[in-house]
Symmetry: D2
Subunit: 347 residues, 4 copies
């Protein structure tokens, strides 16, 4: 059955997430990219700003414009917001009021409790009335709700790499929730296209460094979603690191097994949860994840080991932070919202 | 008072550790490099094999030779062994019997218990009689013993980055030893100059990956030295990762504080232990370590934070794996053994 | 009109070119990959060796086998050879005799004159009788012949990056052929998955270096094809360099304009030659090529400038050495040979 | 004979060149670094801004200040200017009038003819009266004049990598000056610590690209110095490229030999010119330069080949752009100006 095509807009298309959305939408068989915005590049074509798209007729013709919600809502039924947190909430409101469905890549609608938002993001939420309508855009956890949603809040990149491996374990009470430790390694696009000295080539190349210690903002959504799975709130330990590569996140999770739990329970839980998921690849107890195996793709690779000496469970995952960690996952949500096959445009 | 010069040999000078030893010895004001060995390069000069040394007259003249202990022991009073484990032990024996003092960079004399050696290295130790004489070459812990030693076993790179931060905390019982977790990130020279597909440029570039899970060999010496500090044995959790840079290790340690311990106790313990150490830089609770700040140097940078949410202590360190992690530390031991100022040739 | 599917085999699928062919064939809408060979990996599945393909059912099932021409020729009508030069020729003969059409990625059939082959490759050609049937697989130059060919010799990566920009200029006599100088920069996959010390991560990272000076083997095919365009033979100056990135070639060509030639003639020639080519993107006199704009794609980006001070023409191109430079171009030839749209599976 | 120590100031110490000057001066046995300036960091210590210097007592104490020439000239006899062109000239004037000797790393005093300066730098020179006093700081060409100079203009990084190899050939008329072509590859620190999107990690990593085509500013000084050697002016062809590494420049020069010139003449000319130079390493016709062999050092490595097919001479050089290309060369000039051994603090 032929699918009805969707008219899409990308608001804030000049960052890495926006650029990656554009890449995926230009190649998507059912999407028509009808508007892209960027204050900085207004008036220039997509092909001018991103020469790698210059062979696509639409990229040569489509010009960046300012973010006029009224006009764009008249053109596009689906609006992707790739804006800084704080800015996104107001824009989402404008688009929703005009009848568009919104897929937000910022943090603005990920946190259900405006107090927690304020604690982690340092400002009052500007559209708290919308929070209860927003669906957390992790298809492996909220597939049905995403399909129906008017407003989807796509997870952060670290949370995606951590929640997909942890949710089944926490939900099934296979691990002791209070003793979860996570160390992550991220490529530099994870910082966005921020023009700051810290992200210059010669500051990042030949450099590995922890940052955001001890309270990275992504903790707020990680803990919210783990709490939903566990039925109670608990803090987790999280230390992110920046490493010199463009794309990719490795998350390494150290976990205490619940009494009586052994390796087969872990493997069973993963298979039960993810055997039919299109984008979860279970490497099991033999393989190990490597960012180069997921680069450019929407997959998450997960492997695990029980350390016979400490009896702890080590779970390791790899994603491409810009695809499964951001824009690919947004497309996965878009496919669900539109009733397209979930993996179309992503394989 | 002018120091007596030392005649030195480097056995196995073609790997990264050997090359770095050569670099440091050629520039050392009191060392005369009189012999270098390498089966592969026998007959070629140091300058031929390592053009970066070609401006040094001695490097143009000194030719790689085979490892004839008898001849070399007659030339050099100090012998550095940069050989694979298993090979090193026999060579050490030959040199010691001929009266040379030996600084071994392999794992062969790091483990005091030959059963543990066998467990982690998979073979019987071939010179177990020497184990009791060997001194673990961590100057911050064994300075006086190193000065007197005939045989020094230089620590591994990960152990150096982990033990220097952990020893004072474990010794003073500021943390609960049984719940220590360590995640490390290493540059690719950490694997040595091994000609294997896994270490090709295009396999490592744009790749981050855990490896050696769950039982990396370096655990044996880490646990041995922590046990010595704690007065009892306990296992630790350790997950190393390979990241795409040449040099550097970041180790991130997650620790449970002992009851009643707070941040000032930690800072005090670090100052008491290391305020006068030439190569330990305490970044405290503000700075964060970055491998680029220690690249090419013998420093270890250490910072720490107490996470107010989990009450855990996060300690982070950075070293250059080839300098403080290997060859610089060997020179530091050499200086101690010869009665030179400890930092000569290293600043 | 639905296309008939093609059964394909990749002989020597464990190198970078083979792996990239596999990637493209697994995603190709009209190709069925029915056999892959590798001595080293015989018995393992594609997914075992290349975990990045593990979500593809065919990759989990298809096992590497030895290169038995008889058996494979019975299975596949199109055989891609991704073998070392010298080895490829014999294998091609076996497959051709059994009725398969062969797309060879080695150098064995690129050079029409066996004497030139011997001069540059240091050995007698082992199947000189086949040379006259082979078509040089540069679709922009030999589209019609490729469509009919039983044996296609895909160009080298440097030649592709150099010939596409130079052929129209030489053909139209817009530049003085005898004074052509080319400098190229290549990523490290250009060396193949050779397990040699020179290509270890830590030998290539932070390293830029010329190599293959003064007579790189690719000169033989560059000069052959330029001679065909000019109607006479002439030597060109070519200096390749290795730079620390995975993929990509930049070629910078310095050219003397023929008397009376000015910028509009150059632009006209390029438009005339390439305006309708699917994979040639003319950046003209404003943009500059960048390998990151062609990474993973089959495009060649070309820009040019006349230096007002020297009156010389500077032409610069960028390709992905593994796609347009090798395996993507092979797929482009495959599409032509099978009568598929030329860009199918490549956009 | 003990040397008199020199009090030094670095004006503009927050960029890569300034930071590298600070590194070299802190370790220099005869230099006292008494003042560093930076508008951005005024009030912070050197150790705060550059943690890698934090073990040096002077770096912990010395605070960045504003560039008050009057006060600083009273403190330091030698002033290094690491400022943008245009800004440097005025500052140099202020310091010279107060009796300091000035070593300028900008382009402001490299060009003797203010008209050429204006042509390449797009502005009137603001201190043209000083041009005749400035000495071009290439010790291999102007050693005696540098020793006596009050104002030294350190060469650019590309010019250093190009002039040292070319000057003897042009001076001896061994090559045809009118047909000189140069292609260079530079690491990203060559662009300075400019906070611009073009130099972000993810824009440079996995990217190689030509830039500054066809008229890079460094051409002005290259041509000026070659004209001085040849006795007449002629344009050269120069195409620089950016490659993904921190440090290093490779310059590859294509040259037409003068009639009757053969390889021995070239080798003789290089030996005659440079056999006794401390920082020129002649690799001859066997070795090839590699940036990793000069990283962190003040050496220039030079090799050459005559192409038997084209009869052209290919000369290739490697330097560290921040050391021999900038700050190391400035220290070399400083040593000459102060009568210290030329290589002190640089080996």
């Amino acid at each position: 059955m032929p699918k009805e095509r969707a008219k899409c807009a990308v608001i804030g298309a000049s960052g890495y997430a926006g650029e990656e959305l554009v890449r995926l939408l230009l190649a998507h068989p059912f999407a028509d990219l009808v508007a892209v915005t960027s204050r900085q590049y207004a008036g220039k074509s997509l092909a001018d700003v991103f020469p790698k798209f210059s062979h696509v007729a639409n990229a040569r013709e489509l010009q960046f414009r300012d973010s006029e919600a009224a006009k764009i809502a008249g053109m596009a039924g689906i609006v992707f917001l790739a804006l800084p947190h704080g800015v996104s909430a107001g824009m989402a409101k404008s688009f929703l009021e005009r009848g568009a469905r919104v897929i937000d890549l910022s943090a603005d609608f990920r946190i259900r409790d405006p107090e927690v938002y304020k604690e982690f993001y340092g400002a009052e939420h500007i559209a708290p009335d919308l929070l209860s309508n927003a669906v957390y855009g992790l298809p492996e956890a909220y597939r049905n709700q995403i399909a129906e949603a008017a407003l989807v809040a796509c997870p952060g990149c670290y949370p995606t790499s951590i929640l997909i491996p942890l949710l089944p374990l926490v939900r099934e009470k296979l691990v002791l929730a209070d003793l979860i430790s996570v160390t992550s390694l991220s490529g530099v696009t994870g910082a966005g296209r921020k023009v700051e000295a810290d992200y210059l080539f010669s500051e990042c190349n030949e450099s590995a460094r922890p940052y955001g210690v001890p309270r990275h903002r992504h903790l707020s959504e990680i803990e919210q979603e783990l709490a939903a799975a566990a039925g109670r709130m608990f803090p987790i330990q999280f230390v992110p690191h920046l490493v010199p590569m463009n794309r990719g996140i490795i998350s390494t999770m150290l976990l205490e097994l619940a009494p009586g739990v052994d390796e087969p329970h872990i493997s069973d839980a993963y298979r039960a949860a993810y055997a039919t998921e299109a984008f979860v690849r279970l490497l099991g107890t033999v393989g190990l994840p490597d960012t180069k195996n997921v680069a450019g793709s929407n997959f998450i690779d997960i492997s695990w080991r029980i350390d016979p000496r400490t009896k702890r469970l080590i779970v390791m995952s790899a994603i491409d932070n810009l695809v499964k960690g951001t824009s690919g996952q947004a497309i996965q949500c878009f496919n669900l919202m539109r009733g397209y096959p979930e993996s179309v445009g992503l394989l």
